[in-house]
Symmetry: C2
Subunit: 448 residues, 2 copies
């Protein structure tokens, strides 16, 4: 495929950029029209690449793009999953270039979505195109691209139930994750789930003068800080009762196998510019990310946040809280546990509300499967070294649904790298990963 890439590079960039330029931010209602534009453009790309049919299908939320090429019903069928929605670009002031105007420099594509997931799903469209045009395709291929992954895929489970026939396949192929490094390729064989909630603490029914009331009335920001602080103990363990009940402790052997993945604490600290790491007592950094649950405040706001000093005792304080879950912890159970706990610990001098947002369960992937072996061989050939099985900390909530409803094991061939800083300003995607990914996927078709 190398040669095909060389010959078509410029066209690939033009095509990818045409979807990167669309600000398909699923978290923002005002971007609804962009979701539809992006879906329609992907439909075009699938048809141009050689799909028999492609369509933009409605859901209760953003539309799903479905396309397919059926060669012979007796052949194995690969379902390629990806998502065309992206994270909000904020904080805007930290972007070196326009978040939705892709540019190429320093051997990478820079743009929101360059990696997550527009850049990665695009590799599949082009690998498919190559297999079709070179007459090598020996599988039936189906594509499903959703527009709500970054908000927890609220509509997709129902869509999957409604379209079992349409989506039937042997394997679900996904590129929406990272590798350990471009020198150490890895295949992700387990992901954490997610429970995401927003909390609101209300004190007095109006903002007050901090001088006239300070010291005599509970300040909702101070109270929110107390509550959040109480959620994690000094050993880095989450204090929500029952939170760890279903967490599976790995065996020493399993932990040893995961420890094979090379990790440099110095590089890790240097990359993040931190002096020390912090996490649950008794676990390594890789274990804290891969096999242990976590709780993070993703956003907090309340009172006066403008310039200068405003002496106010505010009426409200808010926070967005995400919990990463490990297999067997269900997001539904954990969300409920959190809500019950948070309401229980709320002191009588404030009112507290908790609103659950997105959620999804984690899962594990059998590394003994044919699909895993084919992927391992393909990536090994492109990178010249056998990939390491790893555990990713992120979440693709919907993959658990594919497993449950369609009986499809997901195969995570992710080509992102830490340095791509997805979900953050200046998201990028290294060109050698972008093209290496295409080659690996094409080889996977050959070996699977």
């Amino acid at each position: 495929m190398k040669q095909y890439i060389e010959q078509n590079k410029e066209r690939f960039f033009e095509e990818l950029f045409s979807i990167l330029r669309i600000p398909s931010i699923s978290a923002k209602p005002e971007n609804k029209p962009d979701m539809v534009r992006c879906a329609n453009r992907l439909k075009e790309l699938l048809l141009e690449a050689g799909a028999d049919m492609a369509d933009v299908m409605p859901t209760s939320g953003n539309p799903v793009v479905f396309g397919r090429k059926i060669i012979d019903p007796s052949y194995k069928t690969i379902l390629v999953y990806g998502h065309y929605d992206v994270q909000p670009p904020e904080p805007l002031e930290k972007w070196k270039t326009d978040p939705f105007e892709p540019v190429i420099h320093d051997d990478a594509i820079w743009c929101r979505g360059a990696n997550d997931d527009k850049g990665q799903l695009f590799m599949h469209i082009k690998a498919f195109e190559f297999m079709v045009r070179s007459g090598q395709l020996k599988h039936n291929v189906k594509f499903i691209f959703e527009g709500e992954e970054e908000i927890g895929s609220p509509s997709l489970p129902e869509f999957i139930k409604q379209n079992k026939e349409l989506l039937a396949a042997d394997i679900c192929l996904v590129s929406d994750t990272t590798m350990i490094s471009d020198k150490v390729p890895s295949i992700n064989c387990g992901m954490r789930g997610l429970a995401y909630l927003e909390v609101k603490v209300t004190g007095p029914n109006k903002d007050l003068h901090s001088g006239h009331y300070g010291g005599a009335v509970a300040n909702p920001i101070n109270v929110l800080c107390d509550l959040i602080s109480s959620l994690i103990d000094k050993d880095g363990r989450i204090t929500v009762p029952g939170f760890y009940d279903k967490v599976v402790e790995l065996t020493p052997d399993e932990r040893k196998m995961l420890a094979r993945a090379p990790f440099s604490m110095d590089e890790f600290k240097e990359f993040l510019d931190i002096n020390e790491v912090k996490g649950e007592k008794g676990y390594t950094t890789m274990e804290r990310i891969g096999i242990r649950p976590s709780l993070d405040v993703c956003g907090i706001w309340g009172g006066y946040t403008g310039q200068g000093a405003k002496t106010v005792l505010p009426s409200e304080a808010h926070a967005k809280i995400s919990m990463r879950l490990v297999p067997k912890q269900t997001s539904a159970e954990i969300s409920k546990m959190f809500m019950d706990h948070f309401l229980r610990i709320a002191p009588p001098y404030v009112k507290v509300e908790v609103t659950p947002y997105e959620s999804g369960d984690g899962f594990l992937i059998p590394i003994s499967s044919d699909a895993y072996k084919a992927a391992s061989r393909a990536i090994g050939e492109v990178y010249g070294i056998e990939p390491v099985p790893s555990r990713g900390g992120g979440s693709i909530p919907i993959l658990a649904e594919f497993q449950k409803v369609l009986g499809l094991d997901p195969l995570l061939m992710g080509f992102g790298l830490e340095r791509d800083t997805i979900h953050s300003p200046n998201e990028s995607y290294l060109l050698r990963q972008f093209f290496g990914g295409m080659e690996s996927i094409a080889l996977f078709y050959r070996y699977y």
Copy 2:
């Protein structure tokens, strides 16, 4: 003066509204031109009211408006202090009317600054006008209106030092505080000081994906919550070492006298719509506001605060913290104590910065003075009941400077009420307080 008010009501409103309409927000650089416009308008009003001279005088910050009428050097001189700057109107969505378009309904004026302090300083201009035009003025009167009170009067101390002669007087008369209620008039004879700082906690050098890093890297928001939570113990006492060293414990008699001020816990809770109050153990609500120091987070922000869910482990978290101080606690000392403490308790896995903002010391006023007696008699006559001496929780940092540099005791004839919700949305000023204040001030001139 009652009659004079009746005859000139409409003109009074027009004149007051002309300054209320100017958004003189000292906390916002973009409003600089409005500060100058507001100062010039006040100069006009002083001259129209009968001042010999009035001028807009430059400072290192926003200009000061100074005006005077000297009748006879042998007469007592009253220095009237007020401020023409206002608090930011945020949160805008909570205003029922335009924050800078005054309206009159429900017997009150509604507008940012209607009370604090444009409405209150305007009472002095009109009382002065009445005394002049009715030929009853038997004092020399000086006016100083500053434009930086809401940001801690950074430029005024220097201005005072530079203009001792110009500002020389026997008493400093101020209307920038509240009464217990319009049924229970009170004169404020003590105010708390203020120390205001902004803190910044930095974790990783970029926003991270909460899935890829959550649990393995310190989250600056969680850490900020831990730090803030640790600043106040379970008894409601501030944990900054040395914080209480200079706090003067009142004698049982003094506490008894303050307790004379009527206070209904039920009304207090109902007004704020809270189920319970919260504060330092061993003190009443009025004591917590009047004679005890306090610490409040006035604003907090970090991470994703937009709509929907963003799974980010942010790089930074920020908070604005105000401490209300009692006499003998100097804001300089307390600010330093806070900075030292906050930097000391910062854990090694984050970086912490602390920036001091505005500050000012508290003070006490002798209630045995002629000025206090005259004010008490004047207010008693207007309200038909002797005013109660009270301790206000707010701060007018600059008044301590007048005392120190000019040897002027301040007299706080404030006519605001709790219900006016200054510093908050829908600030208002009751007309009967507005006009009752004018009458009281005019009578003060007679009895002083």
